[in-house]
Structure formats: C-alpha cells, structure tokens
Symmetry: C2
Subunit: 261 residues, 2 copies
C-alpha cells in the first residue's frame, strides 16, 4: 500500500510540515520504501520532485523539507510497490497535460484488469495499474468535454465522480487528482481530511514529536484543506471518508461530497 | 537569448560539471537570469528540476550541482526571457508524452508567428513561442508515425529534421530535443558540441576556474557527447554547427548530420 497527501488552500501555504509527516512513513516509520513524489502547482502547471528511493533518507526529500515551498495546491505520495518494478516511470504522482493544464494524480490501492479501460491519446509510460487508471480517467474527461476545460464546474465534478466510480468498481481506487483549480479525493477504503481555519491551534505529527502552532503562521482568513490516507497529526480531528465517495476541494474548502460508484 | 546544454552518453554519466558551467551563466556571468531547468532521463521517462528564478543563487540549482546525478541523456536550459512572462509554465525544458515515452525540449531563439503551426492534441500550457513550437513538432511526429514509436530510426531522424526545418524557416530555432534514446540538436545560429572519449584529458570551465580530469573519472570505453550554445570549456576543441542542420546523437556518438530547412 501507499500513502497519499494532498493540500488545497485559499492562500499559498508551505507544505513542509505535512510532507515531513508523510516522508517519515517513507522508509522510517512505515513500509513505504519504494519511492516518493511531490507535485506543487503554480497556476496551471505543476513542478514535480520524484525519486524511486525511500523518502526518509533521501537528500532530495530532505531538501524539500528544509526549503519552504508555498503553493495553493499540492499532491504527495510515498510508495510501497504492489504492481510494477521500482523505477522512475512507476513513481507517483503522475503528470499529464489535458485542456492546456497539468493534471496530477496519485493512487493508493490496486485496480484489477485495468487494461480493460481505454486510455485514448494518453499512453502509459510505465507499467503500473495506477498510471493506466490515470490515463483512462483523462481519456474519459477528454471524451466528455473535448479539448477545452469545462465551463461548468459541477459538470466536471460529476464527470470525475462517474469515471472514477467505474474504475473503482473493479479495484481499490483511493486517489488524489488535481487540475490546478480543484483537488479531487476519492475513497475506496482509506482517506481522511481536515480543514484548518481560524481559530487556529497547534498540531503534533503522529509519527514524530514535531509540533507546529498554526496560529503563529497564519492570518484569520487562511483556510487549508489537508487530505491523507491516515491522519498525519495526533491532536486534531480528522474526518474519515465513506467508501465510494469523491470529495471536491477548492479555496481550502470541501465543496461537495459526491457518490462515486 | 537563452543557453542550451545537452548530454548524451554510452554509460551513465554525471552532468554536474557541465551544469555548473551553464548555471554560472544563469545570473552570475551571463544575462540569463529568468529561470533554469534540467531534465534527466531514466529509461523512457525524465525527471525535471525547474525554477523560474536565476540558477546562480538558487538553492535547488545548488542541490543539483552538489549531488551527482548519473544519466545517459539530459537537457538543461537557462533562460533570458524574450517572449512570455517569467513563470513556471514558461520555464524550459518542456516535457510531454508521445509514443508512451517522455519527449523533452529546450529552445534558444524566437519563432515568429508560431501560431500558424498546428499543435494537434498537444495544447500549450504557457504562452511562449518555444512551447508552441515543441507542441507543433510533436503533433507533426504523431501525424507521421501514429501512436507507436517508429521502428526505423532513420525515418524518425528525417522526420525531426523536416518538421523542425519548416518551423525554423520562420525564426531562430536552435533547440535540443530528446526522446529517451536520441538527442537531437538543431542549429539556426549557435550550437556547439564535443565528444569526450579515450584518451581522456582534463578540461576547465570557460566561466570559472573549475577543472576536471576526465581520465580519472572514466573508463576507456566511455563516450560522452556534450552539446551547448557556446563552448563550456576553454581548453577543449568544440565543433560549431552549420546553420539549418540537425545533429543526431546516440550512444555518445554523433550518428548523423542532416539538413533541416
């Protein structure tokens, strides 16, 4: 299994604290030693740091932890290989262009017989079920909306819920998907979120003694949604997702919970 | 103007030395202060480090210089903005999937009225002539070969020469293009290369006093082609490209020089 981390905010926010919690599970405290990745949006494009090696003792992961990187939208992943060898092509998150913007995707679980789903113009580069499922979702979105970003947000949300529900019906399909404006978080089995907003308090990482007082780092109008496979902090109240649902985040808020089956 | 750097080898080679020379031109010794990027292949996929800020005093560029990264194929770029604002979406090298592999592209020069060229399924994310030209080249390759990587190398080389010649006929189109197997280097105005092979000697960076003795770092069968806008070392003999030609590198060798007009 793998662990997912997403962050979606209304002001550029540093992901270092949450990423540190995730990276601890990448080889040190967890069994997720087969690679890690982090994608950070700046507008319609994301830049990605990936490494097919454990996050815990990675110089690049250390670099990311030590250099604050502010973003409105980010997806991170630590990998425990289930399908496909350990290599760069199989390291999440995956990034592709659709509608003239980057889509970013990270997956937790296994989708059986994923090759039954058509991937259209998106050819997988590696050999994971995850990348194939991502390509199939993008192909589904392109079939539905053509070449332009949908003008109706609600239609986009419904399409993501429906297409991912179809893929999720034949496997474990917990994922994070971002398009530069939204963060979509689908639950098959395990997914949690928290929205940090005023009045801010402090939080302590579950796997370490690192503590952050968000009140000192924020303004009252800040809002940050954090989504993770398992709660990353031990003193905050995380909300657990229902199986076969899709959460849609935008502006640091949970905008909608949709059925996805 | 911008500066290009490519490396293509027959054994995994550290690009740190050449990248250090390029990064010096990114704000310290040159006027190329508007961003930098480096893409390193591992098989069919590349990982990319990009930053819309000067390379010279960038912590991330320092990280890259200080951590040896071995690869068979790499493309780097430092940018002096001519078209399009300074931002992540406009930072080279650009990466897209075609034929189930990453294509990587970096450009030096300006292509006028680039929007006359069709980009097919590849929608530019930013607003540079460079990314548009890259998308147009990929669309041309897909039109020519469909969805699978060409079985004939020679047909691929000819197609790259022809498509890029058409785009280069209306602008300055010096570029580096890689597909995980080849490094294509097209010259409109300025491009140089050197092939380092046995017997190896030492070399000194043009813009600094850093000296490397390649004899100590190599085995007699190693072969490394380095391509750059301007020679990066002061004591080696670089070969200057003729305008409107395309060099094709593979296995650390110059395989072919094709006309591209």
């Amino acid at each position: 299994m793998c662990e997912l981390l997403g962050m979606e905010c209304n002001v550029p926010t540093d992901i270092t604290f949450s990423f540190a919690g995730l990276a601890l599970r990448g080889g040190a405290k967890g069994p997720h030693a087969d690679g890690w990745g982090l994608a950070l949006y700046e507008g319609k494009a994301a830049r990605t740091f990936i490494e097919p090696a454990p996050a815990h003792d990675s110089p690049l992961a250390n670099f990311v932890r030590e250099h604050p990187m502010h973003t409105l939208l980010a997806i991170a992943h630590v990998r425990k290989r289930t399908r496909g060898p350990v290599s760069l092509v199989n390291t999440h998150p995956f990034v592709r262009e659709l509608f003239g913007r980057h889509f970013v995707f990270a997956h937790n679980g296994t989708v059986r017989n994923v090759r039954r789903f058509k991937t259209g113009r998106f050819t997988p580069i590696g050999n994971t079920d995850s990348e194939w499922a991502f390509c199939a979702m993008l192909a589904g979105l392109q079939n539905r909306f053509g070449t332009s970003y949908p003008t109706s947000n609600r239609e986009l949300w419904d399409a993501v819920a429906k297409i991912s529900g179809r893929i999720g019906s034949v496997g474990t399909f917990n994922f994070l998907l971002a398009d530069g404006q939204h963060l979509f978080a689908r639950c098959s089995t395990n997914l949690h979120h928290i929205v940090r907003e005023a009045p801010f308090s402090s939080a302590t990482l579950s796997d370490d003694d690192v503590k952050v007082d968000f009140a000192k780092l924020t303004t009252p109008s800040d809002r940050v949604a954090v989504i993770a496979t398992q709660p990353l902090t031990r003193d905050e109240k995380w909300i657990r997702a229902e199986p076969n649902t899709l959460w849609v985040f935008r502006g640091g808020k949970l905008r909608k919970t949709l059925e996805s089956r």
